[in-house]
Protein backbone atom coordinates (compact mmCIF):
# COMPACT_ATOMS: atom_id res chain seq x y z
CA UNK A 1 0.00 0.00 0.00
CA UNK A 2 2.81 2.30 0.82
CA UNK A 3 4.21 1.90 -2.69
CA UNK A 4 1.03 2.74 -4.54
CA UNK A 5 0.62 6.24 -3.19
CA UNK A 6 3.86 7.70 -4.57
CA UNK A 7 3.24 5.94 -7.86
CA UNK A 8 -0.19 7.46 -8.06
CA UNK A 9 1.31 10.85 -7.30
CA UNK A 10 3.88 10.26 -9.97
CA UNK A 11 1.15 9.45 -12.45
CA UNK A 12 -0.78 12.54 -11.49
CA UNK A 13 2.41 14.56 -11.85
CA UNK A 14 3.02 13.12 -15.30
CA UNK A 15 -0.56 13.84 -16.22
CA UNK A 16 -0.34 17.45 -15.09
CA UNK A 17 2.96 17.90 -16.88
CA UNK A 18 1.42 16.56 -20.08
CA UNK A 19 -1.41 19.12 -20.02
CA UNK A 20 0.40 21.99 -21.82
CA UNK A 21 1.73 19.61 -24.46
CA UNK A 22 -1.68 18.14 -25.17
CA UNK A 23 -3.27 21.55 -25.21
CA UNK A 24 -0.80 22.45 -27.93
CA UNK A 25 -1.51 19.24 -29.82
CA UNK A 26 -5.25 19.81 -29.71
CA UNK A 27 -4.83 23.41 -30.85
CA UNK A 28 -2.66 22.21 -33.75
CA UNK A 29 -5.27 19.66 -34.71
CA UNK A 30 -7.84 22.46 -34.75
CA UNK A 31 -5.69 24.39 -37.20
CA UNK A 32 -4.48 21.50 -39.34
CA UNK A 33 -7.53 19.27 -39.71
CA UNK A 34 -10.56 21.41 -40.69
CA UNK A 35 -9.62 22.08 -44.34
CA UNK A 36 -8.57 18.44 -44.73
CA UNK A 37 -11.83 17.16 -43.25
CA UNK A 38 -13.76 19.59 -45.41
CA UNK A 39 -12.10 18.29 -48.59
CA UNK A 40 -12.78 14.66 -47.68
CA UNK A 41 -16.37 15.57 -46.89
CA UNK A 42 -16.79 17.49 -50.16
CA UNK A 43 -15.38 14.60 -52.17
CA UNK A 44 -18.18 12.37 -50.89
CA UNK A 45 -21.03 14.73 -51.74
CA UNK A 46 -23.34 14.94 -54.71
CA UNK A 47 -22.86 17.87 -57.08
CA UNK A 48 -25.76 19.74 -55.54
CA UNK A 49 -24.64 18.74 -52.06
CA UNK A 50 -21.39 20.68 -52.50
CA UNK A 51 -23.36 23.88 -53.07
CA UNK A 52 -25.46 23.68 -49.95
CA UNK A 53 -25.31 26.59 -47.54
CA UNK A 54 -24.93 26.48 -44.61
CA UNK A 55 -22.55 23.64 -45.39
CA UNK A 56 -22.93 20.14 -43.99
CA UNK A 57 -19.84 18.42 -42.60
CA UNK A 58 -21.28 14.96 -43.00
CA UNK A 59 -22.49 14.40 -46.56
CA UNK A 60 -26.16 13.52 -46.89
CA UNK A 61 -26.55 11.52 -49.02
CA UNK A 62 -23.11 10.02 -49.45
CA UNK A 63 -22.09 9.82 -53.08
CA UNK A 64 -19.19 8.42 -55.06
CA UNK A 65 -20.03 10.78 -57.94
CA UNK A 66 -16.81 12.77 -57.52
CA UNK A 67 -14.57 9.71 -57.63
CA UNK A 68 -16.39 8.10 -60.52
CA UNK A 69 -16.23 11.35 -62.48
CA UNK A 70 -12.45 11.38 -62.18
CA UNK A 71 -12.07 8.53 -64.64
CA UNK A 72 -11.57 10.65 -67.72
CA UNK A 73 -8.77 10.16 -70.20
CA UNK A 74 -7.36 13.63 -69.40
CA UNK A 75 -7.10 12.83 -65.71
CA UNK A 76 -5.54 9.43 -66.33
CA UNK A 77 -3.03 11.18 -68.56
CA UNK A 78 -2.13 13.57 -65.70
CA UNK A 79 -1.45 10.63 -63.40
CA UNK A 80 0.50 8.73 -66.06
CA UNK A 81 2.60 11.82 -66.81
CA UNK A 82 3.47 12.37 -63.17
CA UNK A 83 4.45 8.71 -62.85
CA UNK A 84 6.66 8.97 -65.93
CA UNK A 85 8.30 12.17 -64.69
CA UNK A 86 8.86 10.73 -61.21
CA UNK A 87 10.15 7.38 -62.46
CA UNK A 88 12.40 8.97 -65.06
CA UNK A 89 13.79 11.45 -62.55
CA UNK A 90 14.54 8.71 -60.02
CA UNK A 91 16.45 6.69 -62.61
CA UNK A 92 18.33 9.64 -64.11
CA UNK A 93 19.12 11.31 -60.77
CA UNK A 94 20.48 8.08 -59.29
CA UNK A 95 22.47 7.29 -62.43
CA UNK A 96 24.26 10.64 -62.41
CA UNK A 97 24.36 11.38 -58.66
CA UNK A 98 25.71 8.09 -57.29
CA UNK A 99 28.99 8.28 -59.28
CA UNK A 100 29.35 11.98 -58.44
CA UNK A 101 28.66 11.42 -54.74
CA UNK A 102 31.13 8.54 -54.73
CA UNK A 103 34.11 10.37 -56.20
CA UNK A 104 33.25 13.51 -54.23
CA UNK A 105 33.52 11.51 -51.01
CA UNK A 106 36.52 9.33 -51.85
CA UNK A 107 38.67 11.53 -54.08
CA UNK A 108 38.65 14.79 -52.21
CA UNK A 109 40.53 17.67 -53.72
CA UNK A 110 40.07 21.38 -53.62
CA UNK A 111 38.74 21.45 -57.15
CA UNK A 112 36.25 18.71 -56.33
CA UNK A 113 35.02 20.59 -53.25
CA UNK A 114 34.64 23.74 -55.35
CA UNK A 115 32.58 21.83 -57.89
CA UNK A 116 30.36 20.33 -55.18
CA UNK A 117 29.84 23.70 -53.49
CA UNK A 118 29.00 25.14 -56.91
CA UNK A 119 26.39 22.44 -57.50
CA UNK A 120 24.90 23.01 -54.05
CA UNK A 121 24.74 26.79 -54.46
CA UNK A 122 23.23 26.47 -57.93
CA UNK A 123 20.58 24.07 -56.74
CA UNK A 124 19.41 26.76 -54.32
CA UNK A 125 18.74 29.27 -57.09
CA UNK A 126 15.00 30.04 -57.12
CA UNK A 127 13.37 27.82 -59.73
CA UNK A 128 11.41 30.71 -61.26
CA UNK A 129 14.69 32.50 -62.08
CA UNK A 130 15.87 29.73 -64.39
CA UNK A 131 12.41 28.77 -65.60
CA UNK A 132 11.82 31.96 -67.53
CA UNK A 133 15.03 31.36 -69.47
CA UNK A 134 14.32 27.65 -69.91
CA UNK A 135 10.84 28.45 -71.14
CA UNK A 136 11.96 31.04 -73.68
CA UNK A 137 14.78 28.74 -74.83
CA UNK A 138 12.48 25.74 -75.09
CA UNK A 139 9.60 27.42 -76.96
CA UNK A 140 11.95 28.42 -79.74
CA UNK A 141 13.08 24.84 -80.21
CA UNK A 142 11.19 21.58 -80.19
CA UNK A 143 12.29 20.90 -76.60
CA UNK A 144 9.16 22.16 -74.89
CA UNK A 145 6.58 19.52 -73.97
CA UNK A 146 8.94 16.59 -74.20
CA UNK A 147 9.37 13.92 -71.54
CA UNK A 148 13.21 13.92 -71.59
CA UNK A 149 13.43 17.69 -71.03
CA UNK A 150 10.94 17.61 -68.17
CA UNK A 151 12.84 14.75 -66.55
CA UNK A 152 16.18 16.55 -66.94
CA UNK A 153 14.78 19.70 -65.34
CA UNK A 154 13.26 17.79 -62.40
CA UNK A 155 16.54 15.91 -61.99
CA UNK A 156 18.63 19.08 -61.98
CA UNK A 157 16.45 20.60 -59.26
CA UNK A 158 16.86 17.65 -56.88
CA UNK A 159 20.45 16.70 -57.73
CA UNK A 160 22.12 18.93 -55.13
CA UNK A 161 20.22 17.38 -52.25
CA UNK A 162 20.55 13.88 -53.67
CA UNK A 163 24.35 14.11 -53.85
CA UNK A 164 24.57 15.63 -50.37
CA UNK A 165 22.43 12.88 -48.92
CA UNK A 166 24.27 10.05 -50.69
CA UNK A 167 27.63 11.45 -49.59
CA UNK A 168 26.63 11.05 -45.94
CA UNK A 169 25.91 7.39 -46.62
CA UNK A 170 29.11 6.70 -48.53
CA UNK A 171 31.18 8.41 -45.83
CA UNK A 172 30.01 5.80 -43.33
CA UNK A 173 31.39 2.90 -45.37
CA UNK A 174 34.85 1.90 -44.12
CA UNK A 175 37.50 2.64 -46.73
CA UNK A 176 39.25 -0.64 -45.88
CA UNK A 177 36.61 -2.64 -47.75
CA UNK A 178 37.35 -0.69 -50.92
CA UNK A 179 41.10 -0.96 -50.40
CA UNK A 180 40.83 -4.73 -50.08
CA UNK A 181 38.80 -4.89 -53.26
CA UNK A 182 41.33 -2.72 -55.06
CA UNK A 183 44.13 -5.05 -54.02
CA UNK A 184 42.10 -7.95 -55.42
CA UNK A 185 42.13 -6.13 -58.73
CA UNK A 186 38.73 -4.41 -58.77
CA UNK A 187 38.57 -1.31 -60.93
CA UNK A 188 37.00 1.85 -59.57
CA UNK A 189 33.84 1.17 -61.54
CA UNK A 190 33.64 -2.36 -60.17
CA UNK A 191 34.12 -1.10 -56.61
CA UNK A 192 31.28 1.36 -57.07
CA UNK A 193 29.01 -1.19 -58.70
CA UNK A 194 29.77 -4.29 -56.60
CA UNK A 195 30.62 -2.85 -53.19
CA UNK A 196 29.32 0.67 -52.69
CA UNK A 197 25.99 0.22 -54.40
CA UNK A 198 24.77 -2.72 -52.29
CA UNK A 199 25.93 -0.98 -49.11
CA UNK A 200 24.07 2.26 -49.72
CA UNK A 201 20.76 0.63 -50.62
CA UNK A 202 18.87 2.25 -47.70
CA UNK A 203 20.20 5.62 -48.82
CA UNK A 204 19.06 4.96 -52.36
CA UNK A 205 15.61 4.02 -51.09
CA UNK A 206 15.34 7.23 -49.07
CA UNK A 207 16.49 9.31 -52.04
CA UNK A 208 14.05 7.59 -54.37
CA UNK A 209 11.20 8.35 -51.97
CA UNK A 210 12.28 11.96 -51.73
CA UNK A 211 12.48 12.35 -55.52
CA UNK A 212 9.10 10.70 -56.04
CA UNK A 213 7.37 12.98 -53.56
CA UNK A 214 9.12 16.05 -54.91
CA UNK A 215 8.14 15.37 -58.51
CA UNK A 216 4.64 14.22 -57.61
CA UNK A 217 3.98 17.34 -55.53
CA UNK A 218 5.59 19.85 -57.86
CA UNK A 219 3.31 22.31 -59.56
CA UNK A 220 5.63 24.87 -61.11
CA UNK A 221 7.61 22.75 -63.60
CA UNK A 222 4.40 21.34 -65.04
CA UNK A 223 2.86 24.79 -65.21
CA UNK A 224 5.76 26.48 -66.97
CA UNK A 225 7.46 23.82 -69.08
CA UNK A 226 4.44 21.74 -70.10
CA UNK A 227 2.22 23.99 -72.16
CA UNK A 228 -0.11 21.41 -73.66
CA UNK A 229 -2.72 19.58 -71.67
CA UNK A 230 -1.37 16.14 -72.54
CA UNK A 231 1.97 16.88 -70.83
CA UNK A 232 0.61 18.37 -67.58
CA UNK A 233 0.99 16.80 -64.15
CA UNK A 234 -1.29 15.68 -61.32
CA UNK A 235 -0.87 19.01 -59.52
CA UNK A 236 -1.88 20.89 -62.66
CA UNK A 237 -4.90 18.61 -62.77
CA UNK A 238 -5.97 19.75 -59.29
CA UNK A 239 -5.76 23.42 -60.12
CA UNK A 240 -7.34 22.91 -63.53
CA UNK A 241 -10.68 22.18 -61.83
CA UNK A 242 -10.89 25.56 -60.18
CA UNK A 243 -9.39 27.69 -62.96
CA UNK A 244 -11.29 26.32 -65.94
CA UNK A 245 -14.22 25.08 -63.90
CA UNK A 246 -17.78 25.84 -64.83
CA UNK A 247 -20.92 24.44 -63.30
CA UNK A 248 -20.48 22.35 -60.20
CA UNK A 249 -16.99 20.92 -60.09
CA UNK A 250 -16.21 21.00 -56.36
CA UNK A 251 -16.96 17.34 -55.78
CA UNK A 252 -14.62 16.30 -58.59
CA UNK A 253 -11.99 18.76 -57.42
CA UNK A 254 -12.08 17.38 -53.87
CA UNK A 255 -12.02 13.78 -55.04
CA UNK A 256 -9.06 14.56 -57.28
CA UNK A 257 -7.15 16.04 -54.33
CA UNK A 258 -7.84 12.98 -52.21
CA UNK A 259 -6.75 10.58 -54.95
CA UNK A 260 -3.64 12.64 -55.74
CA UNK A 261 -2.67 12.61 -52.06
CA UNK A 262 -3.01 8.85 -51.60
CA UNK A 263 0.37 7.85 -53.11
CA UNK A 264 2.30 10.32 -50.95
CA UNK A 265 0.34 9.42 -47.83
CA UNK A 266 0.82 5.69 -48.31
CA UNK A 267 4.56 6.08 -48.93
CA UNK A 268 4.76 8.21 -45.80
CA UNK A 269 2.90 5.71 -43.66
CA UNK A 270 4.87 2.75 -45.00
CA UNK A 271 8.35 4.27 -44.83
CA UNK A 272 8.09 6.97 -42.16
CA UNK A 273 11.72 6.87 -41.09
CA UNK A 274 13.29 6.91 -44.54
CA UNK A 275 10.77 9.43 -45.68
CA UNK A 276 11.67 11.90 -42.96
CA UNK A 277 15.41 11.28 -43.45
CA UNK A 278 15.22 11.90 -47.18
CA UNK A 279 13.06 14.97 -46.89
CA UNK A 280 15.20 16.76 -44.35
CA UNK A 281 18.53 15.99 -45.97
CA UNK A 282 18.36 19.14 -47.99
CA UNK A 283 17.04 22.38 -46.73
CA UNK A 284 15.00 23.82 -49.52
CA UNK A 285 12.18 22.03 -51.20
CA UNK A 286 9.70 23.41 -53.68
Amino acid sequence: MSTTTPRRQLRLGNFLRAVPAWTYIILSAAVVLPPVAWIVSTSLKTASGTLEFPPRWIPAPFSSEGYVGLLTSTNIRFFANSLIYAGGSIVLALAICIPAAYVATRYRSRRMETLMTGILVLSMVPAIVVFIALYSMFVKTALINTYPMMIIVYTAIICGQTILFLRNFIENIPVEIEEAAAIDGCSRMQILWRIILPLIRPGIAAVAIFIFVFVWNDFLVGTVLATTEDMKTVQNGIVRYITTGFGSFWGLFAAFIVVAFIPVLSIFLAFQRWFVAGMTSGGVKG
Partner: protein, 280 residues
Protein backbone atom coordinates in the same frame (compact mmCIF):
# COMPACT_ATOMS: atom_id res chain seq x y z
CA UNK B 1 39.58 9.34 -64.63
CA UNK B 2 37.81 10.76 -61.57
CA UNK B 3 36.26 13.68 -63.42
CA UNK B 4 34.31 11.38 -65.73
CA UNK B 5 32.16 10.48 -62.73
CA UNK B 6 31.03 14.06 -62.20
CA UNK B 7 30.68 14.89 -65.88
CA UNK B 8 26.98 13.96 -66.27
CA UNK B 9 25.94 15.97 -63.20
CA UNK B 10 27.99 18.93 -64.34
CA UNK B 11 26.43 18.73 -67.80
CA UNK B 12 22.91 18.72 -66.36
CA UNK B 13 23.73 21.70 -64.15
CA UNK B 14 25.28 23.63 -67.01
CA UNK B 15 22.17 23.00 -69.07
CA UNK B 16 19.51 23.71 -66.45
CA UNK B 17 21.16 26.33 -64.21
CA UNK B 18 24.28 27.96 -65.63
CA UNK B 19 23.03 28.31 -69.21
CA UNK B 20 19.65 29.80 -68.24
CA UNK B 21 21.28 32.18 -65.74
CA UNK B 22 23.56 33.54 -68.47
CA UNK B 23 20.62 33.67 -70.85
CA UNK B 24 18.60 35.60 -68.25
CA UNK B 25 21.41 38.13 -67.84
CA UNK B 26 21.66 38.35 -71.63
CA UNK B 27 17.93 38.99 -72.15
CA UNK B 28 17.95 41.56 -69.35
CA UNK B 29 20.48 43.53 -71.40
CA UNK B 30 18.39 43.44 -74.58
CA UNK B 31 15.09 44.69 -75.84
CA UNK B 32 12.52 41.96 -76.21
CA UNK B 33 9.20 41.71 -77.97
CA UNK B 34 7.32 38.70 -76.71
CA UNK B 35 10.02 36.06 -76.45
CA UNK B 36 12.16 37.41 -79.29
CA UNK B 37 15.40 39.10 -78.34
CA UNK B 38 15.91 42.43 -80.07
CA UNK B 39 18.82 44.81 -80.02
CA UNK B 40 21.20 45.53 -77.16
CA UNK B 41 19.76 48.01 -74.69
CA UNK B 42 22.36 48.15 -71.93
CA UNK B 43 20.98 48.50 -68.45
CA UNK B 44 17.65 49.85 -69.68
CA UNK B 45 15.57 47.05 -68.21
CA UNK B 46 17.21 47.59 -64.82
CA UNK B 47 16.55 51.32 -65.03
CA UNK B 48 12.95 50.42 -65.86
CA UNK B 49 12.85 48.00 -62.92
CA UNK B 50 14.20 50.44 -60.33
CA UNK B 51 12.21 53.42 -61.57
CA UNK B 52 8.99 51.41 -61.54
CA UNK B 53 6.75 52.98 -58.92
CA UNK B 54 5.39 49.53 -58.11
CA UNK B 55 8.75 48.10 -57.09
CA UNK B 56 8.83 49.45 -53.49
CA UNK B 57 5.40 47.99 -52.83
CA UNK B 58 6.47 44.62 -54.32
CA UNK B 59 9.54 44.58 -52.07
CA UNK B 60 7.35 45.50 -49.13
CA UNK B 61 4.96 42.66 -50.01
CA UNK B 62 7.88 40.23 -50.23
CA UNK B 63 9.11 41.36 -46.80
CA UNK B 64 5.69 41.17 -45.15
CA UNK B 65 5.01 37.77 -46.71
CA UNK B 66 8.41 36.25 -45.87
CA UNK B 67 8.85 37.68 -42.39
CA UNK B 68 5.17 37.16 -41.56
CA UNK B 69 5.32 33.49 -42.48
CA UNK B 70 8.65 33.19 -40.66
CA UNK B 71 7.44 34.56 -37.32
CA UNK B 72 4.63 32.01 -37.37
CA UNK B 73 6.38 28.97 -38.80
CA UNK B 74 9.57 29.28 -36.75
CA UNK B 75 8.00 29.21 -33.25
CA UNK B 76 5.35 26.73 -34.39
CA UNK B 77 8.04 24.46 -35.77
CA UNK B 78 10.19 24.74 -32.63
CA UNK B 79 7.28 24.20 -30.28
CA UNK B 80 6.01 21.22 -32.27
CA UNK B 81 9.48 19.69 -32.22
CA UNK B 82 9.85 20.17 -28.46
CA UNK B 83 6.38 18.78 -27.76
CA UNK B 84 7.06 15.79 -30.00
CA UNK B 85 10.47 15.16 -28.49
CA UNK B 86 9.05 14.95 -24.96
CA UNK B 87 6.05 12.87 -25.91
CA UNK B 88 5.97 9.25 -24.80
CA UNK B 89 2.63 8.03 -26.04
CA UNK B 90 0.95 8.47 -29.44
CA UNK B 91 4.21 9.80 -30.83
CA UNK B 92 3.67 8.52 -34.36
CA UNK B 93 0.12 9.80 -34.61
CA UNK B 94 1.05 13.23 -33.31
CA UNK B 95 4.01 13.40 -35.66
CA UNK B 96 1.76 12.52 -38.59
CA UNK B 97 -0.69 15.20 -37.49
CA UNK B 98 2.03 17.83 -37.30
CA UNK B 99 3.49 16.80 -40.65
CA UNK B 100 0.18 16.60 -42.49
CA UNK B 101 0.17 20.09 -44.10
CA UNK B 102 3.67 19.62 -45.45
CA UNK B 103 2.94 16.18 -46.90
CA UNK B 104 0.45 17.86 -49.17
CA UNK B 105 1.68 19.63 -52.23
CA UNK B 106 1.74 23.41 -52.22
CA UNK B 107 -0.98 23.37 -54.85
CA UNK B 108 -3.16 21.20 -52.60
CA UNK B 109 -2.51 23.36 -49.54
CA UNK B 110 -3.44 26.50 -51.46
CA UNK B 111 -6.56 25.14 -53.10
CA UNK B 112 -8.04 23.39 -50.07
CA UNK B 113 -7.88 26.64 -48.13
CA UNK B 114 -9.37 28.41 -51.12
CA UNK B 115 -12.34 26.04 -50.96
CA UNK B 116 -12.51 26.19 -47.15
CA UNK B 117 -12.65 29.99 -47.29
CA UNK B 118 -15.03 30.11 -50.25
CA UNK B 119 -17.38 33.03 -49.56
CA UNK B 120 -20.49 31.27 -50.92
CA UNK B 121 -20.19 27.64 -49.82
CA UNK B 122 -17.29 27.36 -47.38
CA UNK B 123 -17.60 26.47 -43.69
CA UNK B 124 -15.52 29.52 -42.72
CA UNK B 125 -18.20 31.68 -44.27
CA UNK B 126 -20.88 29.79 -42.38
CA UNK B 127 -19.12 30.56 -39.10
CA UNK B 128 -18.55 34.26 -39.78
CA UNK B 129 -22.10 34.66 -41.10
CA UNK B 130 -23.64 33.05 -38.05
CA UNK B 131 -21.61 35.44 -35.91
CA UNK B 132 -23.06 38.28 -37.95
CA UNK B 133 -19.94 39.30 -39.88
CA UNK B 134 -20.98 38.40 -43.40
CA UNK B 135 -19.14 36.05 -45.78
CA UNK B 136 -15.37 35.42 -45.61
CA UNK B 137 -14.34 37.10 -48.80
CA UNK B 138 -10.66 37.20 -47.87
CA UNK B 139 -9.26 37.15 -51.39
CA UNK B 140 -11.10 40.23 -52.59
CA UNK B 141 -9.46 42.81 -50.36
CA UNK B 142 -5.72 43.53 -50.65
CA UNK B 143 -4.79 43.36 -46.98
CA UNK B 144 -6.77 40.26 -46.09
CA UNK B 145 -5.54 38.48 -49.23
CA UNK B 146 -1.91 39.08 -48.22
CA UNK B 147 -2.61 37.94 -44.66
CA UNK B 148 -4.38 34.83 -45.92
CA UNK B 149 -1.61 33.87 -48.35
CA UNK B 150 1.01 34.42 -45.65
CA UNK B 151 -0.89 32.28 -43.12
CA UNK B 152 -1.40 29.50 -45.65
CA UNK B 153 2.30 29.48 -46.47
CA UNK B 154 3.18 29.33 -42.77
CA UNK B 155 0.62 26.54 -42.35
CA UNK B 156 2.20 24.52 -45.13
CA UNK B 157 5.83 25.13 -44.19
CA UNK B 158 6.07 24.92 -40.38
CA UNK B 159 6.56 21.11 -40.42
CA UNK B 160 9.78 21.60 -42.36
CA UNK B 161 11.13 23.77 -39.54
CA UNK B 162 9.87 21.16 -37.08
CA UNK B 163 11.79 18.34 -38.79
CA UNK B 164 15.02 20.33 -38.78
CA UNK B 165 14.57 21.20 -35.08
CA UNK B 166 13.66 17.62 -34.25
CA UNK B 167 16.88 16.40 -35.81
CA UNK B 168 18.90 18.86 -33.73
CA UNK B 169 16.98 18.19 -30.50
CA UNK B 170 17.86 14.52 -30.68
CA UNK B 171 21.55 15.41 -30.55
CA UNK B 172 21.28 17.21 -27.18
CA UNK B 173 23.57 15.19 -24.90
CA UNK B 174 21.84 13.22 -22.15
CA UNK B 175 24.17 14.71 -19.48
CA UNK B 176 22.78 18.16 -20.19
CA UNK B 177 19.23 17.01 -19.51
CA UNK B 178 20.35 15.05 -16.46
CA UNK B 179 22.10 18.06 -14.99
CA UNK B 180 18.89 19.98 -15.43
CA UNK B 181 16.94 17.35 -13.50
CA UNK B 182 19.50 17.43 -10.68
CA UNK B 183 19.22 21.20 -10.51
CA UNK B 184 15.46 20.76 -10.28
CA UNK B 185 14.82 23.18 -13.10
CA UNK B 186 11.40 23.37 -14.68
CA UNK B 187 10.38 23.16 -18.30
CA UNK B 188 10.76 26.88 -18.88
CA UNK B 189 14.17 26.92 -17.24
CA UNK B 190 15.31 24.04 -19.46
CA UNK B 191 14.02 25.72 -22.59
CA UNK B 192 15.71 29.05 -21.96
CA UNK B 193 18.97 27.81 -20.47
CA UNK B 194 19.64 24.59 -22.34
CA UNK B 195 17.48 24.00 -25.41
CA UNK B 196 17.59 27.45 -26.98
CA UNK B 197 21.34 28.05 -26.52
CA UNK B 198 22.02 24.56 -27.80
CA UNK B 199 19.86 25.18 -30.87
CA UNK B 200 21.34 28.58 -31.68
CA UNK B 201 23.01 27.53 -34.92
CA UNK B 202 20.05 25.39 -35.91
CA UNK B 203 17.73 28.35 -35.44
CA UNK B 204 19.87 30.46 -37.76
CA UNK B 205 19.94 27.80 -40.43
CA UNK B 206 16.20 27.15 -40.14
CA UNK B 207 15.58 30.88 -40.50
CA UNK B 208 17.65 30.91 -43.69
CA UNK B 209 16.05 27.77 -45.09
CA UNK B 210 12.57 29.17 -44.47
CA UNK B 211 13.41 32.62 -45.85
CA UNK B 212 14.77 31.04 -49.03
CA UNK B 213 11.61 29.02 -49.33
CA UNK B 214 9.38 32.09 -48.87
CA UNK B 215 11.37 34.36 -51.16
CA UNK B 216 10.99 31.87 -53.99
CA UNK B 217 7.42 30.87 -53.23
CA UNK B 218 5.29 30.95 -56.35
CA UNK B 219 2.90 28.01 -56.22
CA UNK B 220 0.74 28.88 -53.21
CA UNK B 221 0.31 32.46 -54.41
CA UNK B 222 -0.26 31.38 -57.99
CA UNK B 223 -3.05 28.94 -57.19
CA UNK B 224 -4.86 31.31 -54.83
CA UNK B 225 -4.50 34.95 -55.88
CA UNK B 226 -2.08 35.12 -58.84
CA UNK B 227 -0.59 38.17 -57.14
CA UNK B 228 -3.86 40.09 -56.89
CA UNK B 229 -6.05 41.82 -55.96
CA UNK B 230 -4.40 44.93 -57.41
CA UNK B 231 -0.95 43.45 -56.93
CA UNK B 232 -1.25 43.15 -53.17
CA UNK B 233 0.11 39.60 -53.00
CA UNK B 234 2.66 39.96 -55.78
CA UNK B 235 6.03 39.12 -54.23
CA UNK B 236 9.18 39.45 -56.32
CA UNK B 237 8.96 35.80 -57.42
CA UNK B 238 5.33 36.20 -58.34
CA UNK B 239 6.21 39.37 -60.22
CA UNK B 240 8.77 37.47 -62.30
CA UNK B 241 6.08 34.96 -63.18
CA UNK B 242 3.48 37.59 -64.02
CA UNK B 243 5.83 39.72 -66.10
CA UNK B 244 6.84 36.65 -68.06
CA UNK B 245 3.55 34.83 -68.57
CA UNK B 246 1.00 37.61 -68.17
CA UNK B 247 2.64 40.64 -69.72
CA UNK B 248 5.03 38.73 -72.02
CA UNK B 249 7.79 41.12 -70.95
CA UNK B 250 10.85 38.88 -71.14
CA UNK B 251 13.52 41.51 -70.48
CA UNK B 252 11.52 42.99 -67.59
CA UNK B 253 11.04 39.56 -66.08
CA UNK B 254 14.74 38.83 -66.52
CA UNK B 255 15.74 42.03 -64.71
CA UNK B 256 13.44 41.18 -61.79
CA UNK B 257 14.80 37.63 -61.82
CA UNK B 258 18.35 38.96 -61.52
CA UNK B 259 17.28 41.03 -58.50
CA UNK B 260 15.67 37.93 -56.98
CA UNK B 261 18.84 35.99 -57.71
CA UNK B 262 20.88 38.63 -55.83
CA UNK B 263 18.61 38.30 -52.78
CA UNK B 264 18.99 34.53 -52.98
CA UNK B 265 22.79 34.75 -53.19
CA UNK B 266 22.83 36.90 -50.04
CA UNK B 267 20.76 34.28 -48.21
CA UNK B 268 22.95 31.47 -49.55
CA UNK B 269 26.07 33.15 -48.22
CA UNK B 270 24.51 33.32 -44.75
CA UNK B 271 23.49 29.69 -45.12
CA UNK B 272 27.01 28.58 -45.98
CA UNK B 273 28.39 30.46 -42.99
CA UNK B 274 26.10 28.70 -40.59
CA UNK B 275 26.21 25.43 -42.45
CA UNK B 276 25.28 22.27 -40.66
CA UNK B 277 25.56 18.99 -42.42
CA UNK B 278 21.98 17.88 -41.99
CA UNK B 279 20.21 21.09 -42.77
CA UNK B 280 21.77 22.41 -45.90
Amino acid sequence: MVWLYVLPVSAVFLFVFVGPLIYTAWTALHETTYYQIGKFSGLNSFVRLFSDSDLPSRIWTTLVFSLGALVIALPAGLLSAIVLNNLHRFKRSVRSLFLLPWLMSQATAGTIWLWFLNPNYGPASAITKSLGFGPTDVFSSPTSALVAVTLMTAWWSYPQAMLLFLGALQTIPEELRESLKVDGGGIWHGLVNITLPYLRNTIVSVVVVLLMLYVQMVTIILVTTRGGPIGSTETLSMRVYNQMFDKFDLSGASATAILLFAVNIALTLVAIRFRRKESL
